[in-house]
Assembly symmetry: C3
Homo-oligomer: 334 residues x 3
């Protein structure tokens, strides 16, 4: 497509030669002639100018360029729109590899692709256009909504429900037993984990993340939520819609996250608390109590970020002035 | 069973109509007519009363109810006892799926169930009533004790020993090489990892947790210990009996945990330290030295929890009064 | 081999009876007659003397012993050299298990061993002497360098490149999509992850670790680097050469680590920062900004370790003296 056609597609304004043909997309580092890229600051734009790239998506804030530009509100989003225009999603035909083991009692939709070594147990329901890649295992009575994509070596335990357009990356485990025990004297008894996991539409879950089944209620991941790699979602947790959870986070049992919550990497939340809508939790935080909606918290334990930063600044200042303080205290105590 | 029969089973006292038939168990959220549930506080009991549940297990502390009750010492434990009475564990017959690859030199006990795609290598010993689910891999000369349950996509490296009634959830890795290297100049050489892993009876290990084999001695997980998802147990670690390790904890090389230790989520312990019996380690703690038995520690680094809380309180107080402090120090330094 | 022969091999000096035959290696705990072990301090040496071990590698710092010794500069390295002499690496012949699914368009080198249930997709290139263990999956167009060893249940996504002599432990995932989204109003769109992963020669990656593919550039792990279990390397990260990353670390998107960096367990680094050569990052640190080369940092946030320790000491001192301080402040504020 020509630059002027792409400008129309992304509702932007072309600047410079808009008759050039664009044949691909790339980051600035690997840009080739014919590619379009995006720049969100002057440094990016300078890099783009030094490359062979043929067109740059930017916003109105950036300067004029020696390269053809398309000015838009959100360059990254426009880049995505062009990507989706130029790349049609890989469409697979109905296929079950000879080495897959699919129960005769499973209900398999149209255009489902089932790779080598996949195991689909009794009573499973698979929607249309689902892809299940090599060596993944779907246990009894689980349901997978249409257009979902299960990467290799994933495990779904019994009776788990995935919505439509769910993406599970390699090594994900959904529906494992929660960490529930009853102590009686010196002995630890396993408590029944009778609930399930409900994963709503458009959820993406990163590699090697685990989501435990509920003990007596269900674990729920709300629609549109994205969870990064190696996270742990414990039993009975309810995660809201459009939540972003970065890598290596952990959410303990029965905790509730509202909608649009963001968790930075390696953060954790204790059990049985409620985190309100739109809360932002800084990386590595330990959330140990309820958090009001719209708060921004950070720290161990997590508090409003300004408090945490102020405490850090005060401690730093006290450390620098500890000699003065020490002298005063000697005087003061005599 | 009737309520009066269940009361006898759990050594409790029925209150209200004890002739009602109980046909299932459930949490308060999903309770149906005919179910029994449990309540550990007044709020739970109120919720139960609003549900269709037919009977509630409680202790002596709670008020009278409109619902039939069974009063017991430990309602959760009694719930578990009734669960075990009503649910007989799934018993599988001897079975090896046609797609499983089981070495002719493996010793397979009675009533062992081996699912699709499972690989059992040479010299492996599998006890009676073991279940190995789809696509799990058991490498050479490993031993699995009777009544153990291996979920899908698990990997046991060579020469690992599991006791009886061990549960390994999906994606668990036992016996991978420890992180052992020798630096010589700029080069990093791999140090031999010649030890093994011994997992004693009644251990349960959560999804995607890893336990490394010992380098020159063995890594040991004591009987009755329960480890949650995505934990890392390093080479040569000795974990005692009846230990509870919550999700995403890490224990570094050669560290020793006593019996009945509890670790909160995302806690870590450095290498070559000893943590005494009955120690409780708060979530997200960093244990960087030996811990006396019976201690309760928290923080980064972990200290007695009262110390950590007091330091936090003092810092908070100093931050609030930093202006006063600042004035004093200006006066003091002149 | 006799002790005197081993002494020549490791360029050491034998002390005591050097005619004894050594038939194996072991740690002090499990030492048998005929074994050689190593001792790096007096306590180790004392333990060795109480065992049946036949020879001890030590350095010049340790005392004389009742056991035959070989004195060397680096006992652990010498132990490794002897181990490599006595153990020849398991050499496998060319083999493809009947249940493996290897695309006819894959290029498979000489003496490649492919285990049961392995899936090798179209266009994959596998070098000579590679081992791919049971149920691992190698997606389209990936490349695996010679002498690499892939343990069971590993997943390589499309177009990933492994160098020579790379070791991937069980459950590793390489090339999963990075955590990249664009928000537009209330909706979260998936951003294309078009880059790849390049893993250079002699890298070892621990069990259940994940390395995401780049979004617009590649994710790179430098030669000789060793990564422990359950780590997360995000999209576009560049890790230098001979880096050591302990278990459960996380490195966020586009961050650059220099050569010879060391990260302690459970440490994390935020996105888009640069960590210089030879930096040492203490366990559980949160690196939230660029770090100068040769620094030693620790803490949340990570600062020069002396600063962090001093702040901790000052807070501890203030806490102990908080009553005195409180009195002074009452006086000061009146």
């Amino acid at each position: 497509m020509k630059i002027k056609e792409l400008a129309i597609l992304v509702k932007g304004v072309a600047e410079g030669d808009d008759e050039i043909d664009i044949t691909g997309l790339s980051g600035i580092e690997s840009a080739r002639l014919g590619d379009i890229t995006f720049a969100v600051d002057e440094a990016h734009l300078t890099s783009a100018e030094k490359s062979d790239v043929s067109c740059v998506l930017t916003d109105d804030m950036l300067r004029k360029s020696t390269k053809p530009l398309i000015r838009v509100k959100n360059p990254k989003l426009s880049f995505l729109i062009i990507y989706n225009k130029l790349h049609t999603a890989e469409s697979k035909n109905a296929f079950v590899h000879a080495t897959a083991v699919v129960s005769t009692s499973a209900h398999v939709g149209n255009n489902v692709w089932i790779g080598p070594g996949v195991v689909v147990e009794d009573g499973v329901t698979i929607g249309d256009h689902v892809i299940i890649e090599s060596n993944s295992v779907v246990k009894k009575n689980s349901k997978i909504g249409s257009f979902s994509h299960i990467f290799p070596n994933v495990t779904l335990y019994e009776n788990v429900k995935l919505g439509k357009n769910v993406i599970l990356h390699a090594g994900v485990v959904i529906g494992s037993d929660g960490f529930g025990y009853v102590k009686d004297g010196g002995t630890i008894y396993k408590f029944p984990q009778l609930g399930s996991v409900i994963i709503e539409d458009n959820v993406e879950i990163g590699a090697n993340t685990t989501v435990d089944r509920g003990s007596l209620s269900d674990t729920v991941i709300g629609a549109g939520t994205k969870i990064d790699n190696i996270c742990q979602i414990a039993h009975n947790v309810k995660v809201g819609k459009n939540v972003l959870i970065a890598a290596q986070c952990g959410i303990s049992g029965s905790t509730v996250l509202g909608n649009n919550v963001t968790m930075g990497g390696q953060a954790g939340a204790v059990d049985n608390i409620t985190i309100g809508d739109n809360v932002i939790i800084g990386a590595k935080s330990a959330v140990i109590g309820n958090i009001e909606k719209n708060s921004v918290v950070w720290g161990i334990p997590a508090r409003p970020i300004a408090n945490t930063k102020r405490q850090m600044a005060v401690l730093s200042w006290l450390t620098k002035n500890s000699k003065t303080l020490s002298k005063m205290m000697k005087v003061g105590s005599t």
